[in-house]
Symmetry: C2
Subunit: 341 residues, 2 copies
């Protein structure tokens, strides 16, 4: 395992995948268009970054729907890993690896506030900075740190268990001594969960007997539900929680649109009778803790205690498809798009 | 204010209000019947209590529906305040005032585990032991202690604000420096909230413009929602919570039956985006902390920092009606039934 920089080109023009129209629900490839412009020049306090690995993440659905965050015609707001090629910011120099809000484009201007991590001498392979060491891994790490009960001897259920967040939750919870079950969307992902991501058992949430299977697998109920989906699965799991159980709400992938507001089973009686604690976690509230968490996760990764999987595809023109595939649940683990050639 | 014992009779037979049939939803007077039997004799480790004030509480709806807790033909499971008239339990003596699970009956046999508080020399009037010093007051005290954020400068909304729990929440939150708003069921209770129970403002939740009124009263949203009702009001308030707000679920009075399971607006997106923490609180999980909380509340009461209101009616035959009135929201504060004559 190495943190050496890959060879990359520095094209004369900046290509960007821009938002061409406001998506109705999940963003589709037709909502985006490729545009080209000059390479930008950093001002005082700014760096110029050559983006190498573009990230596609569920949170982009919300960004694309929000005119305040994402004007039509601008490069799609996105996380990426890149290399600083020019710096007018103190403490940052050409060659540094950065990860943050760099957009779906070849070059980005960024200030320190746009970055989630900054590695003058990266210890890990670059794709990891957008996966186990990036937003997904740090989300798993901090959400468990802040909101989970002590995990030794507890029962944990994770939805989107093979996803970029869930795969890290499974591994951390297993190492902490929990009994960890996962829910995921295909038999292939079920196998990945148990073989690579620390799960004792995993189940496809499409199976019709899911409630019975979970009941048999964990008759005492769950002490922690780490939930990335919400929806009908959440209604079911709420009724299978152990007394004093906790739910971490980290995503709502099961619901494609919140307008009109969807309905479900009322939760308040379960919250009361089982004395649950149900909390939301948004990683962007914790930007100041990102660097420290990345360092801890890097230690685990280099010690062989964390499995890192990134599927790398090639070509900026592919990013809208990769996002659409992911939102449809057809990805496995983290997919990144290499654009350094 | 005095803790002196009132004069009471010791009838030769034990009257009990028994559950005659399983209620369909809210228990009605026709679900109960008066029966009579011999005065019981305490065994080793037991006390014989002359019940003086019977309590009617929302939690009895759940007890009456549960065959494991409440067999047909037995004295209705209920809280009461009484006086020990015979003791075969160490540390308890005739004349001691006790409060606990003593049932709707003239006499109760009890062990220490059935008691929530035990006062060899009571400092407060006896009805207070079933109200501000009893289950409602201790619920307010411990739930706020365990689950509320620091209250100084925060905005707090309380449902059933004039009820036996809500009226204490309002007073404690106000004294802690919060801005406290209440929801209650009539204009008379609205006045009581602001005049006696510490609320800055209170609103009748039947008004059609409730959302607009709350929005104007607290444009920044609520840091804490102390909820005793759930239902449609809860759906509305969830969407008015401040970032990092907390919800304490202490009752679900708005929903008369959970079979079939009722539906409502999905909460998971609000929990996530507003990073809420929604917790259940059940006082019976905290029996070991009851005595200490009662002492702290007694200090506040005797210092004039806590308003205590108990409506006292007379006659064991009245208790089913008092419970039905309360479940219909037609009570004001705590109603007790004196049966000592």
């Amino acid at each position: 395992m190495t943190g050496a920089l890959p060879a990359f080109t520095t094209p004369a023009r900046n290509r960007a995948m821009v938002l061409a129209r406001r998506p109705g629900g999940n963003p589709e490839p037709g909502d985006f268009a490729l545009s080209e412009g000059p390479v930008p020049v950093p001002g005082d306090g700014e760096i110029l970054v050559r983006n190498l690995y573009l990230s596609a993440d569920p949170v982009q659905r919300g960004w694309a729907a929000n005119p305040a965050l994402m004007p039509i015609g601008a490069a799609m707001r996105a996380l990426a890993v890149g290399v600083v090629i020019d710096s007018r910011a103190p403490g940052m120099a050409a060659g540094d690896v950065v990860y943050g809000m760099l957009g779906w484009q070849d070059y980005a201007l960024a200030a320190r506030a746009d970055l989630l991590s900054h590695s003058p001498s990266p210890r890990a392979p670059l794709p990891a900075y957008a996966g186990v060491l990036g937003m997904p891994g740090v989300t798993a790490w901090l959400a468990l740190h802040d909101l989970a009960p002590p995990l030794a001897g507890r029962t944990v259920l994770v939805s989107t268990a093979a996803g970029s967040v869930g795969s890290v939750v499974g591994q951390i919870a297993r190492q902490a001594g929990a009994h960890v079950l996962g829910l995921t969307g295909s038999e292939g992902k079920v196998a990945q969960c148990t073989e690579r991501f620390g799960y004792h058992q995993a189940f496809d949430y499409h199976r019709h007997d899911l409630a019975e299977v979970l009941e048999r697998a964990c008759p005492g109920g769950f002490d922690l539900y780490f939930d990335n989906v919400g929806g009908a699965i959440s209604d079911m799991v709420l009724r299978m929680m152990a007394k004093n159980g906790r739910i971490i709400q980290c995503g709502t992938a099961a619901t494609a649109s919140w307008s009109p507001p969807p309905t479900g089973l009322r939760p308040e009686r379960e919250i009361l009778m089982r004395t649950l604690t149900w909390s939301g976690f948004v990683i962007f509230d914790h930007a100041d803790r990102f660097g420290e968490a990345t360092e801890r996760l890097t230690d685990l990764l280099l010690d062989g205690k964390l499995s890192h999987e990134a599927h790398v595809e090639t070509g900026i023109e592919r990013v809208p498809e990769v996002l659409a595939e992911m939102l449809a649940g057809r990805n496995q683990g983290k997919t990144l798009i290499w654009i350094g050639d």
